[in-house]
Amino acid sequence: MNRRQLIASVAAVTTISLAAPTWAQDEPLKVGFIYVGPVGDGGWTYQHDQGRLAVEEEFGDRVETTFIESVPEGADAERAITQLALAGNKLIFTTSFGFMDPTINVAAKFPDVKFEHATGYKRAENVATYDARFYEGRAVIGTIAGRMTKSNKIGYIGSFPIPEVIQGINSAFIHARKVNPDVEMRVVWAYSWFDPAKEADAAAALLAEGVDVIMQHTDSTAPLAKAQEAGAIGFGQASDMAAFAPTPRVSSIIDNWAPYYIKRVGQVLDGTWTSEATWAGIGDGEVVIGEITEAVPAEVKAEAEALRDRIGAGEYHPFTGPLNKADGSAWLADGQVAKDEELSGMNFYVEGITAEIPQ
C-alpha cells in the first residue's frame, strides 16, 4: 500500500465512523454485561446470564447482547467495562458488588451510556443500582433450618462481610430462632464468592463443629456435597442446585433477574430510562424460593410457604422489632420495621449471634 492509498483509506474509515451516529437509530440496542464468575458457575453468574438470555428472547432483533465473564473485582474491572462502552454498548449491567467504583469511574467518562450496577449503593445521572431482597428468602430457609436442626447448630458460610451478606445471616438467624429458641449460628468467612475447594473446607470445618444444617452465601455446590457426606442438609444458593435434591438440598433461594432486565432494557428502548435504585424481593418475583423437597416434614413446609407468601404480599417484614443488636443495645422497638437505608449499611449482628464480624 503506498502512501496515497493509505491516506485515502484512513480518510474513508474516518468518514464512515463519523457518519455512523446518523444511522445508529436503526441498529439494535447493544447491551453489555460484566460477570464476576464464569457463566457455568451454576449459581450467581449463571442466573444473571439467564436474565440476559431472557432479554434476547423478549426483544429479538431489537437488542444485541454481549458479556465478559470472570472479571476480577478491582482495577481490572474498569478496563473490561470501558471495553464494553467503547464497543458501542448503550446499556451496561455490572453484576457484582466489587464493580461499584469501577462502574462509577467509567460512567463519568461515557455520559451517554447507561449503567446498571447490582447490589451497590453509588448512583449517578447515568448509573442506576438494583438489588434483590435476598434476606426475604433467608427468612424462609432460616425457618426450615430452625425446624430441621437436631444439634441446634446452624452453619453459615459467608463470602465477604458486607451488608448484603450480613442481612442474610441476621435474617436466617432471627427466623431460625423464632421457631427454635435453642438455635446457635456458626459463621465462617470464605473471603471468596466462588472457590469450590475452600467452600468445601469451610463446610467440613462447620460439620466438625457439630453443625447439621448448612447455609451458604457462596456460589458453588461444594458445601452441599460435604453436607451429603455427613448426612446434613443445605440449601441451593442463587441457582436451584436441583442436582442435590431431595437431600441434602431441601430448598433454595433463586435469583430471578429476568423481569428486571427486561423492564430496564425496554425503558432504554422507549426512552423512559432514569437512574434509580431498585430493591425487589419475593413479591416482585426477583427472589424465588425453590421447591421444598419431601425431606422436610409437611407442616414445616407449610409454615415456610406461609411465611414466604406473607413476605411476598407485604404483610410481614423479616426485620420487625423487637430486635436488639449483638452488643445488647436496642435496635428496633416492638412492631418497628427496619428502614432500607439501615439495611443497606448493615454492619452488625442481631442479638443471639455470638461471633464477631471481621473488620
Partner: protein, 295 residues
Amino acid sequence: MIDPVALFVLLLSASTPILFAALGELVVERAGVLNLGVEGMMITGALAGFAAAYHTGNPFVGFAAAALGGALIAMPFAALTQFLLSNQVASGLALTLFGLGLAALFGKPMEGVKAPAMAAGPLGLNWIVWLGLLMVPAIWWFLNRSRTGLVLRGVGENHDAAHALGYDVRRVRIAAIAFGGAMAGIGGAFISIATVLQWTEGMTAGAGWIALAIVVFSNWTAPGVLAGAWLFGGVTVLQLRLQAAGVRVPVQLLSMAPYLATIIVLVAISARQKFSRRAGTAAPGSLGQDFHALR
C-alpha cells in the same frame, strides 16, 4: 475444644489437590523444565475425570481419565518447548489459559450433573488421599535412589553434560512433563470428583499457582513438598475451623501466612547461599533453559 485428629483429617483432604500437583511439578522441574501450566492441567484433569466418572459411574476410572487428560494437555507444551524451543514461561502460561478455556468449552454438557459417590478408603479417608501420601516417599525414592531418577536429575542439573554422556535429554523431559500433567490432572479431579461432586468452570480457583509456590518452598524435595502442602492446607482448615468454633481470628493474617512462610524460606535459603560456602537452593541448574543439541 477443637479435636486435633479431626483437624488433621480435614488437613489431609484439603491439601491433597495441591500435593499431587506440586509433586508432579517437582519432577518436571527436577528435569529442568519450568511448566507454569499446572492450573490448566489441573482443570483439564478435573473435567476429564469428572466426565469419565459420570459416564462410567466409577470414580476410579475418572481418576485414570484425569491422569490421561492432564498428560495429554501437557503434550502441546512439551512439543513447543522441547522441539520448537519456545520460551517455557510463555508456553506454560499459554497452557494454563488454553486448559481453562478448553475445559470451559467442553465442560458445558457436564454442568448441573452430579458425580457418583465415592466409597471411603481405610480410616474413612479417601483412597486418593492415601495415594497422594504414598506418592511422597515413592517420588523421593525415585529421585534420590533410582538410576532413572539420577538420570532425570542429571538432565535437570546440566543438560549439556547429560547429553554428552549419551542421555536423551528431550525424551526424559517429555516423560517428566507427561508425568507432571498426569499428577496435576489427578489433583484437579480430586476437587471435582471427591470434593465438589460437580463440574463448574474455573473450579480449581488458583490451586495450580499454589502448587508452583510449594515447589519453590520445598527447595525441590519431595518431603518439602509435603510440608508445604500441609502448611498451606493446614492454615486454610485451621482458620476455617477456628471461625466455625466461634474463635475470633484475624482471617486475613492467617490467609497470608503460607505466602509469608514461602518468602521467609526463600530468604533463608539465599542468605545461607551468600554467607556460607555450602550450596544454596536446590533449584536445578538447567531449570527453565532450552536445550538444543549442537553436536
